[in-house]
Each structure stands twice: as structure tokens, then as C-alpha cells.
């Protein structure tokens, strides 16, 4: 007979350690059947990113970090998932079924409690000081790794305000191409009918001559970048890949699966764009600034997000695109667990949540934890620079390397942030 002190086999031991930690919510045991054990699958390999930016401050309690039973939870109900210990707001009826694909960070914190500064910090890892403008992650990716597609832009922003994603001090060609309404494709990119090829070519020649003159006069970096932008636009006009921007060819059932609103259609467009090798697509969804009527408003907003995000994850995975596309959902800050007297929640940068999927992220895990009220981080805090460093690490961007602004000051992609490597398989 085996004496009781016989050591357990390693897998059982691992199971027990994990189980003990999972009880504590420190890290969660992935479902046994998933093959994503360390050393088994490729690991971090993102080269594209879809950034779903929740503009206005997304309440963590009503979305990714609910606190069932707490007085602060309010009216928002809670749903469990296949993974023990991962619960979401009950508004995420579809998303709960995708828990194997995503990881949560429940210990984000920011130093900025106002929208504009918080937004800037989230996008750049820096505080806005003086006249310097810092590049957002999409611009860094465009600068460091370059475009993947010969004609399409590397960086696109859908439904995004114009002060979010930006090239900052990098060349203007790393600015995102803005798309206002995802349903109507790329505006001004189709040549008017009365302009034939020859006339278009003549116009371009004249433009180039003008630019060259300007460039000679001032050797102005801005002029060169604009010339490049025109050239890019012209290439784009002639490219058959322009259809990447058109949603017409998508079947009606799929459009409905994403949700017919701007955000849903924006997510569908984002999938088309990464499918055509656009590197970075930001899709914005506003309406999160729920100082009043938090619960009624989120009962509308979260299902819209749930629909689009769930369709996006299913669609990307079914096409194999999730292997190399990092999908990230984040906001500039969370909202107060304490409910104010207008049944609203106010700005709360002390603790909030984000979701990551694809690009080598190991799904079904939670990093970090808040206490029973959702007010304090009790494990594994992640700062905004740490968060961006994590995304940059997934994308294979150098974190230590210094890049110099035109004024000669050194900057790093995520400032001094340190990546959370354990999120990757």
C-alpha cells in the first residue's frame, strides 16, 4: 500500500496549487480541455490589434468586475461562466459563452480622473505636458513595424473622437485614417465620375510639383508627410483592396449578428480591415459617462457592446484571425462603486477593468482583484503604462528602446510600464 506521504504527481500538485489560488481569485484555473498550456502553443504572436475604446469611463461593477451581494452592486445582476470564479454582468448574455477566449484585468488604475487627460494617458502612457504630443499605440505600431498591406493604411480609427488616437510627435503618416460612419465606407476615396484616369494623373503631377517646390523652400517634414499621404490616398483609390472598407459584401445575417448600430458595424469593419492586413483599428463606443441613471443607461449600452464584441470574437476565431489579432477593450477609468443620489456613478480611476483576447492571450484567466466592494485593488495592480506595455509586448514592440522626438527628447513605447507576461500562453 502506498504510504500517505507519497508525493503527489506533478499535475495533481499543480492542480491543487492552482485550485488554492483560484479560490483566492488570484489566478484562475483554465478549463482542463484547453490545450493552451505553457509550452504547447505558439505563444504571443499578435501583429494586429483591434482596440475597442469605451469612451467616457466604463463602470467596472456593471460590466467586467461585478460584486454580487455587495451594496455597491445596485441593480445590475450577475452571470457565471464556464470558468469557476469568473462572473460578468448579466448584460453580457453572449460574452459569457466566450470566456475561453479572453482574459480580464481587474486591477487597472489610472492617475487621471478627468476624461480628456484620462483618455490621453490611456492612449499614450504619458501625461499631456507642455507642447509635446505623444503617439498612441497604433501610431507606434505603424512606425516601428510599418504597414503590412502595400496600399492600405496601417492605422484606422472608427467612430473615434479626433483627440484619441494620434501620431503625436511621429510623422503625420502614422495618424489614423478616420472613418466616421462605418456603413458608408471610405469617403472621398472614390473618384468623381467626371475625373478620368488621365485627368487624375495630371492633377497628381501638379500636386507633386507643388509639393516639391514647397519642400525645397522649407524642407518641411510636414509637407513631405502630406505628400506621402496624397500618394497613399492615390494608391488606395486604385487598389482593389479598397473593398476592405465596404460592408456591402457582408451578408445581412452577419451584420445583424454584430448589431446594426454604429459600434456593431464598426466592429464588423474592423474585422474586414484586419483581414486585409490593416495593423491597428480603434473602434469607439461612447455613452459611458453615467453620472445619472447608471442602471437604465447601461441596460441599453452593455447589451450593444455584448452583441458586437461576442460577434467579433466568434468571427475572428472562426477565420483564424484571433491567432495574430489582439482584441482589447478598455476605458479611461472606471466608475464609483458608491451609487450617487441620482442613481449614477462618478469617475473612478482607482480601480477598473479591461478585457484582452487573441494574439496569444490565454483565455479564461483573471489578473488582479478588487475587494468585495470594488473600491480597492487587493492583488496585482496594473498601471496604465503597465497595461500599454502588456499590449506592446503582445505585439512584439520593443519596450526598452528609446525613440527621440523632434526636439531630441527620448521616449519609450509604454514609458516605464512593465508587461503582464502571464496573460500570454
Amino acid at each position: 500500500m502506498q504510504p500517505p506521504s507519497q508525493p503527489l504527481d506533478p499535475s495533481r500538485r499543480r492542480f491543487l496549487t492552482e485550485a488554492a489560488r483560484s479560490f483566492l481569485g488570484l489566478s484562475l484555473l483554465p478549463l482542463q480541455s484547453w490545450p493552451k498550456l505553457p509550452g504547447d502553443l505558439p505563444g504571443p504572436q499578435a501583429r494586429k490589434m483591434i482596440f475597442l475604446y469605451m469612451n467616457g469611463g466604463m463602470s467596472h461593477l456593471d460590466t467586467l468586475d461585478p460584486k454580487p451581494g455587495a451594496a455597491t452592486q445596485g441593480e445590475t445582476e450577475v452571470l457565471g461562466t464556464k470558468v469557476d470564479g469568473i462572473q460578468l454582468s448579466a448584460h453580457f448574455q453572449n460574452l459569457v459563452g466566450h470566456v475561453d477566449k479572453f482574459a480580464l484585468i481587474r486591477s487597472l488604475h489610472s492617475t487621471q480622473g478627468a476624461h480628456a487627460t484620462g483618455r490621453y494617458f490611456l492612449h499614450t502612457s504619458f501625461l499631456q505636458r507642455g507642447t509635446i504630443r505623444h503617439p498612441s499605440l497604433g501610431a507606434w505600431l505603424s512606425k516601428i513595424d510599418g504597414p503590412l498591406h502595400p496600399n492600405l493604411p496601417a492605422h484606422v480609427a472608427v467612430n473615434a473622437g479626433n483627440d484619441t488616437a494620434s501620431a503625436g510627435f511621429l510623422s503625420a503618416r502614422h495618424n489614423p485614417l478616420p472613418i466616421g460612419d462605418p456603413g458608408s465606407g471610405l469617403q472621398h476615396s472614390r473618384r468623381p465620375n467626371h475625373v478620368d484616369d488621365q485627368r487624375a494623373a495630371r492633377r497628381l503631377d501638379r500636386l507633386q510639383a507643388m509639393n516639391q517646390k514647397l519642400a525645397k523652400q522649407g524642407q518641411n517634414a510636414g509637407t513631405a508627410a502630406y505628400a506621402q499621404a496624397y500618394e497613399q490616398a492615390l494608391k488606395l483609390m486604385q487598389s482593389r483592396d479598397l473593398q476592405a472598407f465596404q460592408l456591402d459584401s457582408e451578408p445581412q445575417w452577419l451584420k445583424e449578428a454584430y448589431g446594426q448600430g454604429r459600434f456593431g458595424q464598426g466592429c464588423l469593419l474592423a474585422r474586414r480591415l484586419v483581414e486585409h492586413d490593416v495593423r491597428f483599428v480603434e473602434v469607439g463606443l461612447g455613452g459611458w459617462d453615467t453620472h445619472n441613471d447608471n442602471f437604465d443607461r447601461l441596460a441599453e449600452l452593455v447589451p450593444e457592446l455584448d452583441q458586437a464584441l461576442s460577434a467579433l470574437l466568434a468571427d475572428l476565431q472562426a477565420r483564424g484571425l484571433l491567432e495574430e489579432t489582439l482584441v482589447v477593450l478598455a476605458s479611461e477609468f472606471g466608475r464609483t462603486p458608491k451609487i450617487n443620489d441620482r442613481t449614477g456613478r462618478d469617475h473612478f480611476p482607482q480601480a477598473f477593468s479591461a478585457l484582452l483576447a487573441g494574439g496569444g492571450i490565454r483565455g479564461g484567466q483573471v489578473h488582479g482583484q478588487t475587494d468585495a466592494t470594488g473600491e480597492n485593488i487587493v492583488a496585482d495592480p496594473v498601471s496604465i503604462p503597465d497595461f500599454n506595455a502588456t499590449l506592446a509586448y503582445g505585439l512584439g514592440l520593443p519596450l526598452e528602446k528609446e525613440y527621440f522626438s523632434p526636439s531630441g527628447r527620448p521616449f519609450r513605447v509604454a514609458d516605464k510600464g512593465r508587461p503582464v507576461r502571464s496573460l500570454f500562453a
Binding site: 485550485a19 489560488r21 483566492l24
Partner: protein, 322 residues
């Protein structure tokens, strides 16, 4: 003290009962409080300003975190748990814990051993968590993925080899910064792909880990020219028009883990070919002609294979009804 623990277990067996599992909060915690907290707890619980050896025993998270990265508790393995073994040392050993004061009794030590053996459950107890950060996952220098494992001890390809392989069409980059493994793709989809483009990869064959042929027209004659790629981990062939004969033309790929065949006219005739890749773990088959029966036979043969072929999309939402 070991025999005590054995006795306890055997007594249980003899009576035909399950031995009562040790309860952390009522049985183990008092022992730690009495003998250890004066040095291994926060100040508010009677501990020193700075916990000795960086080890705190006043919270479940802290106990699992160990002493500055050294694990002190391995559930199920008392011998590897210094939490127990340092208490169980002979009384005159300079390393015995508690470092000062009365040693724990044999019964107390046995109880801790039993608790660890049973899996070291904390029950509902959590204790202190303030200030806790735990590094999870493998240490940074440990290979975490196939990609890292295969990159080990591999000299990088020379620039000349890479240039030769790229010709005027392929874009060849490291899979990750600093990795010798290579990612090969053909960005100009409208220029198509011919035999030479794939033959040329011969000069970098040992380094190709990801090959992306998506959205290029793929024919049997062309794909048949693909050299054996001993480290190919991921092969992307979505929307290429590839059929069963084309797929059959692929050489053996010993390390292939991920294969994307989305949107191709591949049928059940390809099941056998797919099963010939010994390491295949993830397969994308949506919008192919492979049927449910085909998918079942794949899954039957490979329990660990993930097949994505029938995605579940959210049902359309009713417009808000007011």
C-alpha cells in the same frame, strides 16, 4: 511526528470512516498565530515592522506568495513545503522555526503536515491581503511557448539567406523581436504566387515558423514546391481556393500546430492528410466543404485537436421595445 499523522489516518481507515480533513481556520491558524505571527505577520497582528525573510503567514495570498519568491507551501507535498519542514527540524537545528521561543508540539506539527497533504485548503479563510502582489506564470526566462522552445540554441539565418529567400515578393521578419525564427508572408496579393516563390524558401527552411499564404491563389503545382519546413508551427492558407489535391501536395510538417484552411473548397477527402501532421492542435475549417462527419472523425482521432468550423454568433437583438 510523522507516525502520529499516519496513526490518525489509519485510525480513520480502521473505523471505516473518511478521516476528518484538517480545517485551516480552526486548527492550523491558531498554531501559526501562537508560534509564528510574532515574526511573520503584519504589525497590527503582533508582527515586526518588516516580516522576517519577507514571509507573512497572516493571509492565504501571502502564504502562497512565499518568502520573496521562494515557495514555502506546496499543496500535497509537505517535504517540499518549508512551512512544515522547518518546524519539523530537530530542536537543536539552527534553522528550526520558530526561530525563538517554544517549539511547536509534535501534534501541532503533525496537523500542519496533514493539512498540507490534504491539499492545503484555506476553506473560507483569506486573512490579510493588503500590499500583496503575486507573480504568476512561469519566470520570465523560462520558455513559455513552442516558439520560444524551438528558438533555443538556434543560430539566426544570415541576411544573405533571408534575402535570397525573399526574392522580390516575400516579406520575411522575425516572429518576435530577437527570435531567430521567421515569419514569411506575401503582402502583394495581386501578384499571385508561383513555384519559384516557394522553392526559394529552401534557403531558410530551418527557420520558418509561420508561413502566411492567405488570399493568394494556391494550386497543387505551386504548393508541391514547398520545401520541408522542420520548424513550421503555423500555416495560414485562408481564402486561397485550395482544394483536396492541393492540400495533399504539402510535404510532411512535423511541428505544424496551427493550420488555417478557412474559406477553401477542401472536403472530407483531406481528413487523412490533416491527420498526418502529428502535432496538429488547432484547425480552422469554417466555410470549407468538410462536413460534420469529417470533423467528428478528426476529433475522434485527436482528442486534443481544436477544430473551429461552426461558429456560434449572437442572435440578432430585438430593437428596444418601449
Amino acid at each position: 511526528m510523522i507516525s502520529l499523522c499516519w496513526l490518525g489516518l489509519f485510525a480513520g481507515f480502521n473505523l471505516g470512516q473518511e478521516p476528518e480533513p484538517v480545517d485551516f481556520a480552526s486548527q492550523v491558524l491558531p498554531i501559526l498565530k501562537q508560534h509564528c505571527f510574532s515574526c511573520h505577520a503584519s504589525e497590527s497582528l503582533g508582527g515586526p515592522k518588516k516580516a522576517k525573510a519577507g514571509l507573512r503567514l497572516d493571509g492565504a495570498g501571502w502564504i502562497l506568495a512565499g518568502a520573496k519568491g521562494d515557495q514555502v507551501l506546496v499543496p500535497g507535498k509537505p517535504e517540499e513545503s518549508s512551512l512544515w519542514s522547518m518546524m519539523a527540524l530537530p530542536a537543536d537545528d539552527p534553522d528550526i522555526m520558530p526561530a525563538k521561543g517554544d517549539p511547536a508540539s509534535a501534534e501541532e506539527i503533525a496537523l500542519i503536515r496533514q493539512w498540507i497533504e490534504e491539499g492545503a485548503s484555506f476553506g473560507d479563510w483569506r486573512g490579510e491581503a493588503g500590499g500583496l502582489t503575486i507573480r504568476k506564470g512561469p519566470a520570465p526566462d523560462q520558455p513559455v511557448s513552442v516558439m520560444e522552445r524551438m528558438a533555443k540554441n538556434l543560430e539566426p539565418a544570415s541576411q544573405a539567406q533571408i534575402k535570397k529567400a525573399a526574392g522580390d515578393k516575400a516579406r520575411i521578419t522575425p516572429v518576435r523581436p530577437g527570435s531567430p525564427l521567421l515569419h514569411v508572408e506575401f503582402p502583394h496579393k495581386d501578384r499571385g504566387l508561383n513555384k519559384n516563390d516557394l522553392q526559394r524558401l529552401q534557403s531558410i527552411a530551418p527557420w520558418v515558423a509561420i508561413l502566411d499564404l492567405s488570399r493568394l491563389p494556391l494550386k497543387e503545382e505551386v504548393l508541391g514546391q514547398l520545401p520541408k519546413l522542420p520548424r513550421l508551427i503555423r500555416l495560414e492558407m485562408r481564402s486561397t481556393g485550395l482544394d483536396d489535391r492541393g492540400l495533399a501536395a504539402l510535404p510532411p510538417l512535423a511541428e505544424l500546430r496551427v493550420c488555417n484552411l478557412f474559406g477553401n473548397p477542401i472536403g472530407n477527402a483531406s481528413v487523412k492528410k490533416l491527420l498526418s501532421f502529428p502535432q496538429l492542435r488547432v484547425l480552422y475549417l469554417w466555410k470549407t466543404e468538410i462536413t460534420e462527419a469529417g470533423v467528428d472523425s478528426l476529433r475522434k482521432d485527436r482528442a486534443k485537436l481544436q477544430v473551429h468550423w461552426n461558429p456560434k454568433f449572437p442572435a440578432p437583438r430585438n430593437p428596444a421595445s418601449d
